[in-house]
């Protein structure tokens, strides 16, 4: 199969088309612009709909409507725009609708800047909007993986009737890499008997709703949602292990930063330091399994992120204070470097050894 060069942001779009997504609603924001640019051209080719909404608030509610109508539908934005969508995401989670949301994270808080960042980790994995809900969060670290994980996102969304978020950052969105695409697959969408498509051919009316005025009833809904999240936690944890054989210093990173961390691991190994990497692919459900296992033999952990230390909390929970968990991060859109992380890792290793 031939490989072609593709930009990360475009790969999010192509991945959606290949997953059978035919509707996209969005609002312009940097650094994800190539994604809507791509779909504005691509979706009409496959009989789909690209619509530029008047705001992120409108876009996410268009997603809500199209998802209620049974369609595979996606939106994309970047940090401030994702904040605006949180009300709608909560409604989508509450009404149990499948939809995919892409967040190409940029520096914050506030207007921040347009440089790459991972500072929306908490917002993505802990819920984000109001109410007790969760959504699967996937973090690709290459352009090829974007294509694969966007496909997985649509599958998970339909499987659990739940919104799914895929997070990247400006570097991943802007860089070009070779990808294997192959022919566009025929996607058979799962039946959606619950969708509001008109009652024709059906005995009962379908209602899409997240309003339950009786507390007894709403508690039951919440218990059902929580049972669904527990199932996700049992079934959907995904991660990559890199050079964990005999590793005593475990780096933990997701997305783009994991690529830097891999180079750090190689450098440390070459210097005789037994380093390895655990890369969460699902940020929720968080892959605590390899961390818990590694905590039995490893001497120390080093979490590297492009934020002030958000995932480090989940790593600490998984490690349960059995080993020291260190953190190295840059914020404000600053990239960390192999040299910087290697130096930090060496210091940690000298104490830990």
């Amino acid at each position: 199969m031939d490989k072609i060069l593709m930009k990360g942001n475009e790969a999010f779009g192509e991945g959606a088309v290949r997953a059978g997504c035919r509707l996209f609603f969005g609002y312009p924001i940097t650094p994800q612009s190539e994604l809507p640019h791509y779909l504005a051209r691509r979706l009409p080719e496959v009989g789909g709909v690209y619509l530029q909404a008047e705001s992120e608030v409108a876009a996410i509610n268009m997603v809500y409507g199209a998802a209620a109508a049974g369609a595979r539908v996606m939106t994309s934005s970047s940090s401030p725009g994702i904040s605006l969508m949180q009300e709608g995401i909560s409604y989508i989670a509450g009404a149990e609708l499948p939809a995919v949301i892409i967040n190409i994270m940029r520096g914050g808080p506030g207007l921040g800047n347009i440089a790459p960042s991972q500072s929306d980790y908490f917002q993505a994995v802990k819920g984000g909007g109001h109410g007790d809900y969760k959504l699967p969060v996937l973090a690709p670290s290459s352009v090829q993986e974007i294509i694969d994980l966007v496909g997985l996102a649509f599958e998970l969304a339909d499987k659990y009737r739940n919104p799914v978020m895929v997070v990247g950052d400006g570097v991943l969105g802007q860089m070009m890499e070779p990808v294997k695409l192959g022919p566009v697959p025929e996607v058979v969408l799962p039946p959606k008997a619950w969708a509001t498509t008109g009652t024709a051919g059906r005995r009962t009316r379908n209602i899409i709703n997240s309003l339950y005025i009786e507390p007894e009833e709403l508690e039951k809904v919440n218990l059902r949602l929580q049972a669904k999240y527990r199932e996700m936690e049992r079934e959907e944890k995904r991660w990559e292990e890199y050079r964990l054989d005999g590793a005593a210093l475990i780096l933990v990173s997701f997305g783009m930063v994991a690529r830097i961390a891999k180079a750090v691991v190689d450098k440390l190994r070459a210097a005789g330091i037994p380093a390895g990497l655990i890369r969460p692919i699902t940020l929720y459900p968080f892959p605590d399994i390899p961390l818990t296992t590694a905590a039995e033999t490893a001497k120390a952990f080093l979490v590297v992120e492009m934020n002030a230390g958000q995932m480090v909390e989940d790593v600490r929970l998984a490690v349960s204070s059995r080993r020291p968990v260190h953190f190295h991060g840059r914020t404000g859109g600053m990239l960390t470097t192999v040299a910087e992380v290697t130096a930090t890792a060496r210091e940690i290793w000298e104490v830990a050894e």
């Binding site: 199209a66 109508a69 008109g198 709703n209």
Partner: protein
């Protein structure tokens, strides 16, 4: 004996939760009858607002979606773009549509979305306890304008039908009232025309319905009907503000 008038199949058997004298029930019936008469009930998807009509999904006998406050036109856009051959309508109050949802309604109209919006204007927030709405009349007392609405600090009544009639994507914009049998019959005609134009796929259709709120106006139901006639219609004149060139 032949039955000359019965409950429309467009409504469920669920009793309305609306206050005595509120005209939501009348407006529900006009919409429901129209959907049955046009033979489109089975391919209709309705979108409810947040406000007094928040439970409308219990009453309209078709597939229904509950939207976030003000976002019904965006939700309707999503449904219609996914299912272009379905009939899609939003049912919204004046807080929902004319305050928090102004962006969504203007841009749905501007895009010429082939949907119908029924806009219920009773000049007050009902569900939350009688606060000032964008459509509250000057001088009108509400729980948040206890001395009467003053333009100097609370602005002016928003005339939504007039506003939407100058948006190019809208093709049918009308304002009606349901305070008398004569006006109810006229309202029915407007609702029917709006849905007919949607079925023809001509563009965005909009019917503003002047409605009563005896509870929050502090009036009896008959007094409320008279108050609407005397105070609302002069500010919100009835009629068709925009009709398609060809139907």
């Amino acid at each position: 004996m032949a039955v000359s008038l019965k409950r429309t199949e467009g409504l469920t058997d669920k009793p309305f939760h609306y206050c005595p004298g509120c005209t939501h029930g009348v407006i529900h019936r006009l919409v429901a009858e129209t959907l049955v008469e046009l033979g489109v009930l089975e391919r209709t998807v309705g979108i409810c607002p947040v406000g007094c009509a928040v439970f409308a999904y219990d009453y309209f006998n078709c597939d229904m979606i509950e939207a976030a406050h003000g976002r019904a036109p965006a939700v309707a856009t999503g449904v219609k773009r996914a299912l272009p051959d379905r009939v899609v309508f939003t049912y919204q109050g004046d807080g929902d549509l004319a305050a928090i949802g102004t962006a969504e309604i203007i841009h749905a109209a501007s895009r010429g979305e082939r949907i119908t919006t029924i806009f219920v204007n009773n000049a007050v927030y009902g569900m939350t306890g009688g606060q000032m709405a964008p459509t509250t009349l000057l001088g009108q007392k509400t729980t948040t304008t206890p001395f009467g609405r003053r333009a100097a600090d609370a602005g002016f009544p928003l005339k939504v039908a007039e506003m939407l009639s100058v948006v190019e994507g809208s093709v049918y914009v009308s304002r009606v009232a349901v305070n008398s049998p004569k006006n109810i019959l006229r309202a029915k005609k407007a609702v029917r025309r709006a849905f007919e134009i949607q079925v023809q796929g001509l563009g965005f259709t909009f019917v503003e319905v002047l409605s009563t709120c005896p509870t929050n106006w502090g009036l009896s139901p008959p007094e409320a009907m008279r108050w609407l006639e005397k105070n609302m219609i002069p500010v919100y004149p009835l009629g068709e503000f925009k009709v398609p060139e060809v139907e």
